[in-house]
């Protein structure tokens, strides 16, 4: 018979170290960071217990109390309050930041009153020691009636002890810290009898906040309302009174268990940093300095490894062409797959640098200060200071960024943030930007320090940011809802990043980028190669005859003839026909049918642009397998006789890719987060129009 698997939930205040502990227990790499609200959805993992059984651990978003304020917090309240659900944990581990015990204990006392088996994990014991605090943990455990285990979730110290405690039978505390108010007693009694609830405080919570518990069925809600009416229980002042009563208990408790109170050093050191980092002038100067450093380093530091990777793939292509027997499969490999993959691999250095910076910002505690600095400005745009986190992480990828909006408790501000976040230039745009900038912006230094290409890149990111802000204002005026907005946010103390975390983030995210993008690119490269190599009618087989007919009077060299045949073939292939069919629409933007093919393939994922370029421009040119960039540079515009990628076309394309919503996954996540098709569709139409109109204006004014 299969033994019952123990289900253990990790609950605690935001930023108390739940995900760090989860990672140590399960060996997984759940994202951590030094700001409140990193985790926004539940995640499960498994761990071997000392008695050889396997236990299931659940990492959850942070909460300050069982009364949720935002979407991520609601998930936790529902798991803890729905005792009859199969998801209800067998044991709850409450993780507290022991340097901040007073506030953390509020939640601890609430969970004890729920009557679930509970263990208290006192985290950050290294910092406790540094601050010179000491506690009597035995007394604490006795007063609360639950086991208390000191741990350090960064190093894993104490985790074995925690597991040992968990694998023994944990029973609920026999203490009741907050007996429900007399006014509620009869109502609680009736609810318990009728709905079969086995705990006073759980029933009390149903009376207090039925609307924020989505698991309650409609008839249960009606019943609860009737009970409230009948027993004249009207929540309102009770919530505050409960908090005051609990804090009274906590104050007494702390007086008894604190042996040595904190010396003020730790926070005052943070305050000293804040004097500079949130300074009137220095604060913003440093913030923009950091952003500037990121863009400069993406261009300046990444070029050497990028050139290396570029060369590597070019020679691989050549090599395959040489050793493999000639045929369609070889040319597909050498001209479709390898250049397509090379087109992505080349961006590994830049993406790694980008993620390194973002991860350091998150781990150090600086992110919360950015929220603090930007709140007043963001509010003018209908956003919230907390919108800064999604906007900044949107520079890496819009998908986690849109999920991060769950911490914004105001519906309107959250919706606006979701709508504008994809305008922030994500890492998938980086390949497109890099290649086009390299084509049209000279690689020069200005004032001996600024790399012109780096400046152009930063300009594009600023353009995306500006578009996000302006769009936010417009949407703010269009959505007519006025809900009060708050910013009551903990400012965590500064900490050194845990470098192994930074390392993991870089490797993890870069790998995900390469594999996710790689899969799509591979698939599209194959399809595209087929489309570009075959066509209707006999144009493909008899291409040479047609070309010879057309150019009878021209004295072509052998190479010239071959090129013309190749161009003729591409033009009459399925891909060519596809590109030609949308050419009338994109001609005003300065694009030809070849770029049209790239626009079509980028619809699902914008990074496919580079691979498409690689395939389109290498079909036919058997001779020199040079890199994508040089092939694009050599492309001639038959109408003008000059290069295809003039500054006008290049900038028009850059602007188009900055604004267009070319990402299926983003559409899917917006659908999930807003629970409907309305917002993702509005977003898609809006961004496409914005891209088209702006690219049109850019092209027309440059040429």
């Amino acid at each position: 018979m299969q033994e019952k698997q123990l289900k253990i939930a990790l609950v605690g205040n935001p930023n108390s170290g739940k995900s760090s502990l989860f990672n140590i227990l399960t060996g997984l790499n759940q994202k951590t960071g030094n700001f409140p609200g990193v985790t926004v959805e539940k995640r499960t993992g498994f761990s071997k217990m000392p008695d050889q059984t396997t236990a299931q651990f659940i990492d959850l978003p942070g909460i300050y109390s069982l009364y949720p304020r935002s979407l991520d917090e609601q998930i936790v309240s529902e798991i803890l309050l729905h005792h009859k659900s199969p998801d209800c944990p067998d044991v709850v581990v409450v993780i507290v930041d022991a340097t901040n015990l007073k506030r953390s204990l509020l939640l601890v006392t609430q969970i004890i009153d729920l009557g679930l088996p509970t263990v208290l994990a006192m985290n950050m014991m290294d910092l406790v020691a540094k601050a010179g605090i000491s506690f009597n943990l035995i007394a604490l455990s006795e007063k609360l009636g639950i086991p208390v285990v000191p741990i350090n979730a960064r190093t894993g110290m104490g985790v074995d002890q925690l597991k040992k405690v968990l694998s023994q039978e944990v029973s609920p505390s026999t203490k009741v810290i907050f007996p429900v108010f007399d006014e509620a007693k009869s109502g609680v009694e009736e609810l318990r009898n009728e709905l079969g609830i086995d705990n006073n405080y759980e029933a009390y919570q149903f009376l207090q906040q039925p609307t924020s518990l989505s698991f309650l069925k409609a008839q249960e809600r009606i019943f609860i309302d009737q009970v409230k009416e009948k027993h004249k229980f009207f929540p309102g002042k009770f919530h505050g009174a409960e908090t005051v009563q609990r804090y009274g208990f906590i104050q007494n408790l702390l007086d008894e268990v604190t042996l040595e109170p904190a010396n003020e050093n730790r926070t005052s050191q943070s305050t000293r940093f804040d004097k500079i980092l949130t300074h009137r002038i220095w604060g913003y100067a440093i913030f923009f300095g950091v952003l500037f450093l990121i863009f400069q380093s993406i261009f300046a530091w990444a070029t050497v490894p990028m050139d290396f990777i570029d060369g590597l793939f070019a020679s691989l292509s050549n090599y395959l062409n040489d050793v493999l027997p000639e045929g369609p499969l070889t040319s597909m490999l050498a001209q479709g797959v390898v250049p397509g993959l090379g087109g992505i691999a080349i961006f590994i250095p830049q993406i790694a640098i980008l993620f390194a910076f973002i991860s350091i910002l998150e781990e150090s505690g600086y992110m919360s200060r950015v929220v603090f600095l930007m709140d007043k400005i963001m509010r003018k745009f209908g956003l919230n200071g907390k919108s800064v986190v999604p906007l900044i992480s949107g520079v890496a990828c819009a998908i986690p960024a849109i999920m991060a909006t769950r911490t914004i408790d105001n519906w309107k501000e959250r919706t606006i943030t979701i709508l504008v976040t994809p305008l922030m230039s994500c890492s998938a745009r980086l390949p497109v930007f890099t290649i086009l900038i390299a084509l049209i912006v000279p690689d020069k230094m200005v004032w001996h320090f600024f790399n012109l290409q780096g400046l152009a890149l930063m300009g594009l990111y600023l353009l995306g940011f500006a578009a996000a802000l302006i769009s936010a204002i417009i949407i703010k005026l269009l959505i007519n809802v006025n809900e009060r907005s708050y910013l009551i946010m903990e400012l965590p103390t500064y900490r050194w990043p845990k470098w192994s975390n930074v390392g993991y983030t870089i490797v993890d995210k870069t790998k995900a980028f390469v594999f996710e993008a790689g899969k799509i690119i591979l698939a599209i490269a194959v399809v595209l190669w087929v489309l570009a190599s075959y066509g209707p009618g006999d144009h493909m087989e008899r291409a040479e005859e047609y070309v010879l007919q057309e150019s009878e009077n021209l004295r072509l060299t052998e190479q010239g003839l071959e090129d013309r045949v190749a161009a003729y073939k591409l033009e009459h292939s399925y891909a060519g026909i596809l590109g030609k069919s949308i050419e009338p629409v994109i001609r005003p933007l300065g694009y030809d049918w070849k770029i049209g093919i790239a626009l079509v393939t980028s619809f699902a994922a914008r990074e496919v642009f580079v691979g498409t370029m690689a395939t389109i421009y290498s079909i036919g040119s058997e001779e020199d397998q040079t890199t994508i960039k040089s092939r694009m540079r050599a492309e001639i515009n038959p109408d003008t006789g000059g290069p295809r990628y003039t500054p006008a076309v290049g900038f028009s394309l850059l602007v188009f890719y900055t604004f267009a919503m070319q990402c299926m996954s983003t559409i899917a996540v917006v659908y999930r987060e807003t629970k409907g098709w309305k917002w993702p569709m509005i977003q898609l139409v809006y961004m496409t129009m914005l891209a088209y109109v702006s690219a049109f204006i850019v092209f027309q004014s440059f040429s």
């Binding site: 009364y67 007073k102 506030r103 505050g240 913003y284 709140d375 910013l487 903990e490 400012l491």
Partner: protein, 77 residues
């Protein structure tokens, strides 16, 4: 002010005070959960460069609030 009521929004950097009352019903439950209880000591650390929000120390940690929220916290000193 004439009636002598002061709120956290009027404190100066470095100033310490005791919370006397939370004036806004809806906000007060949130603030109390975060440790801003009547009777608690509060220190005003600094305000953001544009004057809003502000950072205070309460219950042993640092909390940031908008001025609007800070003005609902009355103080004694």
């Amino acid at each position: 002010m004439a009636n002598g009521r002061r709120s956290v929004a009027q404190m100066k950097p470095g100033e310490v005070a005791i919370i006397s009352e939370l004036e806004d019903d809806i906000l007060s439950v949130k603030l109390m959960e975060m440790g801003c209880l009547p009777g608690a000591t509060i220190r005003f650390n600094f305000s953001a460069p544009l004057g809003d929000p502000v950072c205070i120390s309460v219950s042993g940690y640092e909390l940031s609030l908008r001025l609007e929220e800070a003005s609902t916290i009355s103080i004694l000193n």
